[in-house]
């Protein structure tokens, strides 16, 4: 660790404790408290990444998580900022976007030779002809595009993140001096305050400077005052008063009544040829590296600046032990006399009225070329001279971090005097404090924060008259300190340097100043168009490093003022965030029936069916199907939705919801019902059993359970009938015992008389079966004699086991969803959503008998169905058979003269009937028994015979017997 500076009191690292991790397979030693970036820089690894388009080497620039230069992959997670990510023992860090290695990247060719081929928008212009080569182009482009690689396995890409919601009186975004002062004042006045900051430690710009100790004290005092501090937690955006912040594995969603934006400002880079070389760093970045991590940013520095910030920085760097070879100040006249004097005393030469023209070096800066600037900031070629250095610390002024404010509806106004944007038209529930408010110099940031904090708290009705008076006084003194022109030396003058060579305006997307010129020449002369065309400001830095530069250049190129050029729309996310964090915990709730374990034990092939895990089959679809026909079968139908509708007006309620009658259903009897909406469309179906005079047991489809409950309760709210609705779906299990021998099996397990005379088709009875209280519904979804047994979930396993045990002598088999599908298709029992779609109505879906227009009620769907009845059905759902056993694909087209006129909704081979059967929508004219239709299925033309009656037991003799 030769690149470390002597210890300093501000450093975050613990030199007594070393931690090891790996970078591209090499072992790297770090100190506890290091970031990945600081440790790598200290170890001599100055190149951390390759750039997006040209694959140029890039190194640390901002050291504050603001720029794109240090994105690495950590343990398979791409896009991690090395400069802020703390080192942890054993992590595997790898570079991104360079092949085969960071040192030698073949794609660098795009930089060295590709210039004429990769202008802005090249992907709109090239790789187009000849068209037949597109598959090849696509492969190449897709390989080249993007940053980083996602882990291949799903499990390696998952984030275990949680959402957390937090209500607060006041939310402060930004933990610098202004933010902390605001939080402290608001909390002192009794407000519940949350403060979030993207850094690990509160203090912002103070931490790397002389005020580091007072930052620590302030941080302690706000915690003591009860402020909840979220750090490091980057605010992602402003969503109508909700501010999400990402902290580790938590996505905080903070909703506060008042917001204080203390988001600070961002130091801007300078534009010159090679301004992206490793070794070119922001002044603040170089200082942070030296001060917080004790890492030597370079041996010999040249500081290039347009403001006094650079002068301060030169002094700070020299004090830290870095030789400063000179300060290149673009200003000929301005500049604090005090600082200039200090620089002179320190023996640092200041080149006033000069700018950096070029930084040279292959993979790292070896020196700069500087030149005198004329009045318009253009370099004089005759004055060019070189200065050797391995660090160029740059400071091109600051850009206030206004994004969150703009997202909240504020505007940013260009202020010529300060050479900066100032927030304007800020919504009334937001206060602005510190640098983002233009309250520079820094010595009034604390006061600015205290005023904002007091305003926020007092506007919530907190505080006393005394506090109001104090606010008035503070406000007045703040106004005095910030009034008038900005202090000399803070204002940013025009950019220095030349536009020759590769001057990067946007580091994320590799957009040079020439690219911007070129785009403007091509007519993309509004900022929003320029952004979309060149992708400037659209990369990981979200404009932090490039927005101002692109605006200034557009202003210079077009002659429009900065105000006229305007700003692009600020959008979330303000900080980069993995999609997985926004998505929250990977959450796929699986519903399992009470006897799910049994399905596993019986060898069931368990699959997803909506939210449910269900047995598709138990290994032999044919045998299971035939068992239901010849002996008995048992299927778990616990997934059905189950509602109890009770009350004096329950019958009237169902009469309004369903197209058929329920008020005249006798207690203990069952009727099939199809639910629809007022457009007449089928939405769900199920059976309804009248339990007694005042209550009905309604079953729904498995996937429709929630929607039906919601639909019922909505109409109940509208009609205000004397009806109670109880959803018992989760509490009850249900099994369908079906097959010719099901009666024998059931009779042996219950005292109930199960004879056909006593327990007829469509009877519903309550009785104990093996001691389990059951509601037994004699219905026939699968087309054989059958009983649906509904029982309390906790007793279901006992019932299931007993049925299988008793059924063993009768050749019972459990059967799964697939056999059930074949069985129900033989009966032409529709599956809502499979055989019907959002346009199907019962008149056309082969169920005209279910619509009782003679009912008095204006039931849901009546009017629309009346219109259909009047017009006549256009299409009909019919059955078809195919003798030769071909099973057309579900969804295949029914064609007439080669034109599609309908489609197949269900199709299966029936082992019982030994032919293919199916259902299809066809024009009404074709919906006659015996008509031959043609199904076009992936090139095959298949003839099928239309059949309108059920394929199996059309007269219901088996069901009723």
């Amino acid at each position: 660790m030769s690149e470390r500076l002597p210890p300093n009191p501000r450093e975050r690292i613990n030199r007594a404790r070393t931690i090891n991790f790996s970078f591209d397979g090499k072992d790297v030693e770090a100190y506890d408290g290091d970031t990945i970036g600081s440790a790598l820089h200290a170890s001599g690894q100055k190149v951390l990444s390759r750039s997006f388009k040209y694959h140029r080497p890039r190194g640390l620039l901002c050291c504050a998580g603001q720029c794109p230069n240090c994105l690495v992959d950590v343990d398979g997670s791409p896009g991690v900022r090395a400069c802020t990510e703390p080192v942890r023992a054993g992590i595997k860090v790898t570079h991104m976007n360079a092949k085969p290695s960071l040192d030698f990247d073949v794609m660098r060719a795009t930089d060295l030779f590709g210039k004429p081929f990769t202008p802005p928008g090249f992907y709109y212009k090239t790789f187009i002809r000849p068209r037949r080569l597109w598959p090849l182009y696509e492969k190449v482009l897709r390989n080249a595009a993007g940053l980083g690689r996602l882990a291949k396995r799903q499990a390696d890409r998952e984030w275990r993140t949680e959402y957390r919601r937090r209500r607060a009186d006041v939310l402060v975004v930004g933990g610098g001096v202004a933010g902390m002062a605001a939080a402290l004042r608001a909390a002192e006045l009794g407000a519940d305050v949350v403060l979030m900051d993207d850094g690990p430690e509160l203090g912002g710009a103070m931490l790397a400077g002389q005020d580091a100790d007072s930052a620590k004290e302030l941080a302690e005092s706000i915690r003591a005052a009860g402020v909840e501090v979220l750090a490091p937690a980057a605010a992602l955006g402003f969503f109508d008063g909700l501010v999400p912040a990402w902290q580790g594995n938590t996505l905080h969603q903070v909703r506060a009544d008042r917001h204080i934006a203390a988001t600070g400002s961002i130091e801007q880079p300078l534009i010159f040829d090679g301004n992206d070389l490793p070794g070119v760093m922001l002044c603040s970045g170089a200082e942070r590296l030296a001060s917080l991590y004790g890492v030597r940013p370079g041996e010999t520095a040249v500081v290039a600046t347009t403001t006094d910030r650079g002068l301060e920085s030169a002094l700070a760097l020299q004090e830290a032990g870095i030789e400063v070879a000179g300060v290149v100040d673009a200003r000929a006249g301005d500049g604090s006399e005090e600082l200039l004097g200090a620089l002179a005393a320190a023996g640092i030469s200041v080149h006033r009225g000069t700018g950096v023209v070029k930084a040279f070096g292959r993979k790292h800066v070896r020196g700069v070329v500087v030149a005198d600037l004329d009045d318009e900031g253009r370099p004089d070629p005759a004055s060019k001279r070189g200065i050797d250095c391995d660090l160029v610390a740059v400071s091109g002024g600051t850009m206030p971090a206004t994004s969150l404010l703009l997202q909240a509806g504020a505007k940013a106004r260009w202020d010529e005097a300060s050479g900066s944007y100032l927030p304007d038209g800020v919504p009334s529930d937001i206060r602005v404090a510190g640098a983002v408010a233009g309250h520079e110099p820094r010595n009034c940031a604390a006061k600015s924060g205290a005023v904002a904090g007091a305003e926020a708290a007092l506007s919530l009705g907190l505080g006393s008259e005394e506090d109001r008076a104090r606010l008035q006084a503070d406000r007045a003194s703040l106004l005095r300190e910030t009034e008038g022109p900005a202090p000399a030396g803070q204002a940013r003058t025009q950019d220095a340097g030349s536009r020759n060579g590769k001057c990067f305006a946007c580091l994320c997307e590799d957009v040079t100043t020439k690219d911007i010129d070129y785009a403007i020449e091509e007519g993309f002369d509004s900022l929003e168009l320029l952004k979309r065309y060149t992708t400037v400001t659209m990369g990981p830095c979200q404009g932090r490093m490039c927005q101002l530069a692109s605006i200034r250049q557009m202003s210079e190129d077009t002659g429009a003022s900065i105000e006229e050029v305007g700003l692009t729309t600020a959008r979330p996310p303000w900080s980069t965030v993995p999609m997985g964090v926004l998505a929250g915990r990977p959450f796929e709730p699986a519903k399992r029936s009470a006897v799910h374990g049994r399905h596993r034990e019986l060898g069931g092939n368990v699959m997803w069916a909506g939210d449910w895990r269900r047995a598709y089959d138990y290994g032999d679809v044919r045998a299971e199907t035939m068992a239901v026909h010849e002996g008995a079968g048992l299927i778990d139908v616990s997934t059905l939705g189950k509602l109890v509708v009770s009350g004096p007006e329950a019958g009237a309620f169902l009469n309004l919801l369903y197209p058929n009658r329920f008020d005249n259903l006798k207690p203990g009897r069952i009727r099939y019902g199809v639910l629809g909406d007022d457009a007449g469309r089928i939405t769900d179906d199920g059976t309804i059993c009248r339990l007694d005079e005042n209550s009905f047991y309604v079953t729904t489809t498995s996937s429709g359970a929630d929607a039906v409950e919601s639909w019922f309760s909505w109409w109940l709210a509208e009609w205000k009938l004397d009806v109670q609705l109880t959803d018992v779906s989760q509490g009850l299990s249900a099994f369908n015992l079906a097959g010719p021998r099901s009666r024998e099996i059931l009779s042996g397990l219950t005292e109930l008389d199960c004879s056909n005379d006593s327990f007829a088709y469509l009877d519903g009875k309550r009785a104990n079966v093996v001691g389990v209280p059951c509601l037994m519904l004699r219905i026939g979804f699968v087309g054989e004699l059958g009983y649906e047994l509904h029982c309390p979930g906790p007793l279901a396993e006992h019932l299931w086991d007993s049925l299988l045990e008793a059924g063993a002598a009768h050749e019972i088999r459990p059967f799964g969803l697939e056999p059930q599908r074949i069985l129900r298709l033989q009966k032409m029992h529709i599956l809502v959503g499979q055989d019907t779609d959002a346009e199907s109505n019962p008149l056309e879906a082969a169920m005209p008998w279910i619509v009782k227009f003679e009912k008095e009620e204006d039931f849901i769907g009546r009017w629309a169905l009346e219109a259909v009845a009047e017009r006549g059905a256009e299409n009909k759902l019919i059955g078809f058979t195919i003798e030769n056993g071909t099973v057309p694909t579900e969804g295949a087209a029914v064609v007439v003269d080669g034109q599609p006129v309908g489609l197949v909704t269900s199709s299966r081979f029936s082992p019982k009937l030994e032919r293919s059967i199916g259902m299809a929508w066809v024009p009404a004219a074709l919906a006659e028994d015996g008509t031959t239709i043609t199904v076009s299925d992936e090139g095959r033309q298949i003839s099928a015979a239309v059949q309108t009656a059920p394929f199996y037991d059309p007269d219901q003799e088996l069901l009723r017997g």
Binding site: R165, F239, D240, G241, L242, Q253, R255, D678, A679, E709, S710, S713, W714, A717, E718, K720, D858, W863, A864, E866, A867
Partner: protein
């Protein structure tokens, strides 16, 4: 979109707790003409401003209730159980 909504049963909650039921469209009280039926089924006023609408506290008590909301600001003027 993000705002707070007050369930008449449960109190103030994030809007993501609720299911939106659309603007209140009264069902015709007697047989409508085909045009009226289609208007009822398919047309919505979609106002920019105050709108009376249905909400369901889906992740809470599951009650349906009415709210009057300004669609431009998401300010909710009042909420009420139907008939209350």
């Amino acid at each position: 979109m993000s705002f707070l909504l007050t369930c008449p049963n449960c109190g103030e909650r994030e809007v993501t707790d609720f299911a939106f039921g659309g603007e209140v469209v009264p069902r015709p009280s007697s047989k409508p003409s085909e045009r009226e039926l289609n208007t009822y089924n398919y047309f919505r006023r979609n106002v920019a401003g105050l709108q009376r609408e249905w909400w369901n506290h889906r992740s809470g008590c599951r009650a349906w209730f009415l709210a009057e909301r300004d669609t431009t600001t998401n300010e909710v003027r009042w909420v009420a159980l139907p008939g209350a």
